[in-house]
Symmetry: C2
Subunit: 417 residues, 2 copies
């Protein structure tokens, strides 16, 4: 079979599996998740062995230690992955939840209930734990999944998917499938499998996400690019502002909800910037500032136009002084990625204006941008963070992996003229 035929074949089998999976009760799905966790533990040695091959090849290819760390599995890591699967089993089943329900004046009973999306395709980075996380979340929400991980983790993913499928008995094994092929072509065919695949969720870098958005005829949920801002208002508690900025920038710089730009109201710039720059310096942060910021530190690098749009994912921070809250909002609208923005202020009116005017998935008032996360938001788990406006926005949990269906019950109701 060609790559295209192989991709269409797994997609067709996923579609059939999705139809069988959709009406299954919670108990069957939870039992399948526990069986998956058991199998992962029982066969963790062969998973770790397959992973060792991927890691060796990555090292040979000169991959950074940071990426190698994300790629690597150990017995302890497999145990954590299995525990995460059991955690998903413990979460409420979104399928069947009644979203709306009432009786119409003519006596028709209307209910809007959650149903699975169907077949979900996930395109993701070289982190084998995502293979299992994504499979668990889609299975729990009654969806079949097509997993297309990074080719750097291919052997790990083959092993993980084989182990998961071997554990499925009352759930069709084709509900969990790896998209075959290491090359980029398989992504292309997945993007054109409209009618077989209901939604694609690309995770990872901006270039992957943009290419999927541009080329896919299957509906896409964009995730994860975060050029997050902290705005320090004229009425900020400056100590709190320094703490929030340092936390948002440095607590884990490589993730999408880390801050990349600070915007400082000019009325407090002279008080705030010396303290902030000192604290950032202490954490090893390189600040890329506009002219006004550079007046407060010799070590501030001159910011270029690109710095304002950059998602550094490193210990770099862009910094600018703004004339007003409205100027800060205009800057965010122009350069931001609509992920998460924070305001630090003691003014109720400034907080309300910022919340109303900023058009992003999450707006933090006196809190670190790092809190935009499915676990932090109390969703129990997360399949990604949507930065688009349709269907889901912000952290996506199990309900975001469902659609709805209207069920209307009558007793021979006919439509009048």
């Amino acid at each position: 079979m060609t790559t295209q035929e192989q991709v269409l074949d797994v997609a067709r089998r996923a579609r059939q599996a999705a139809a069988e999976l959709a009406p299954l009760p919670r108990a069957t799905k939870d039992a399948a998740l526990h069986a998956i966790a058991d199998a992962l533990l029982a066969r963790s040695a062969e998973i770790v062995e397959a992973n060792a091959g991927d890691v060796a090849r990555a090292r040979e290819a000169g991959t950074s230690e940071y990426m190698i760390d994300r790629l690597s599995l150990s017995t302890e890591r497999v145990e954590k992955i299995a525990a995460a699967v059991r955690h998903v089993a413990s979460l409420p089943d979104p399928v069947g939840e009644s979203v709306r329900g009432y009786t119409l004046p003519n006596g028709l009973e209307l209910r809007q209930i959650r149903v699975p999306l169907g077949v979900v395709g996930i395109i993701y980075e070289g982190r084998p734990n995502v293979t299992v996380d994504a499979a668990a979340l889609t299975l729990k929400s009654g969806n079949a999944v097509l997993l297309r991980g990074s080719s750097s983790a291919y052997d790990s993913n083959v092993a993980l998917v084989e182990v998961m499928r071997s554990a499925l008995t009352d759930v069709p094994a084709d509900a969990v499938q790896l998209v075959p092929g290491r090359d980029r072509d398989s992504v292309k065919y997945l993007m054109r499998a409209r009618g077989l695949v209901d939604v694609l969720i690309p995770r990872g870098g901006a270039s992957l996400i943009n290419s999927v958005v541009e080329e896919s005829t299957v509906p896409v949920i964009e995730t994860g690019v975060g050029n997050c801002h902290v705005y320090v208002d004229a009425d900020a508690d400056l100590g709190m502002a320094v703490d929030i900025l340092v936390n948002a920038k440095t607590q884990r710089p490589s993730v999408c909800n880390a801050a990349e730009t600070v915007l400082v109201h000019r009325d407090i710039a002279a008080d705030f910037l010396p303290r902030a720059l000192e604290a950032l310096r202490g954490k090893g942060v390189t600040v890329h500032g506009d002219e006004a910021v550079r007046a407060y530190g010799d070590d501030v690098v001159a910011a270029t136009e690109e710095d304002w749009s950059n998602e550094y994912l490193s210990l770099d921070l862009a910094a600018a002084v703004v004339g007003s809250l409205e100027d800060a909002v205009a800057h965010i609208r122009r350069y931001g990625s609509a992920h998460t923005e924070a305001i630090v202020t003691t003014s109720q009116s400034a907080a309300r204006r910022f919340v109303a005017l900023v058009d992003s998935a999450a707006v933090m008032v006196n809190a670190s941008t790092r809190f935009t996360d499915g676990e932090e938001f109390g969703f129990g788990a997360e399949i990604g963070i949507s930065t688009q406006k349709l269907h889901a926005r912000g952290p996506m949990g199990l309900p975001e992996l469902t659609s709805t269906k209207y069920v209307v019950t009558g007793e021979g109701h006919l439509k009048g003229a």
Copy 2:
């Protein structure tokens, strides 16, 4: 300016208007809607005159009387359109509605609130009333709208949009804009205006909708193609089944929620089909049947493979006998458009199975397919009927024209390790 520049220009102005419109309170938006209704009434003569030109050109081009009727405006019709705008003003404002809200264990207060989508593009058929309906619904939900109606109604739409814009004072006039140009190119540029337009809603025939879905990089909500089925179960009340089938097929054959296929359980075929065929004959319906159906009527036309997929929108009906409820579901999955399917049955178990297994936007139990409609469902108004699974499914009212935003309020909360 080229057509492309013109489309990008209106899209940019819509984006700016959307940012100004989003935070406006309900009272301002409702006042704008009443001002639009007033202006439509005051200037109805010039609207009807502009429309007369479109109608004359359509007649010259040999357009069917049915299409001419949809295109035509009169003083009375303009009055109805204005009344519909006032009705939209009376509906609740979805913007600001709290969808979720709780305090997290760490004391952060989380709220998920409805916000406008931003810029909504609507591509629609030659019905000038849609120009005003769509503008009213998008304005009420805080969105800017780009209207791209059929070129057959271009002069009518120019007049309607001019009248609506002239009525806007506290709402930016660029919140309501007609996409310039009569040719198809303007649709093409609208579909590529990603980043400026947040969603495109194509309404009309399957070919328009498919081409938008295939080519658009702007997210699309598919609407309205309805190959709706009535399944008459072995345990049906046959009198009710005949009434529902006749109502679903003939009450208004040209709309998407009219029935196009009837599937009859073989155990009651001999009792049901003679009665059904007689009733359908009385209403002038041509039945396209499989072999089993043709045994009950000499006037039943032999169905071809295409008949099962056809959205006739006329007094034609495809008919087949099936061996079981599951066979009916398989037929619907294979040939349907996932809009609306009905089951007629007295069996609770059959109803439950049909509802669970049919994967369509709406499932009717003992009711006509004709009830799938925003007004009938109690939404007050409708922008279209989504047949896709992402974002909105089934009739879309005002809440479906919104996205959400998370607002998280703390008192200096930092993320721990």
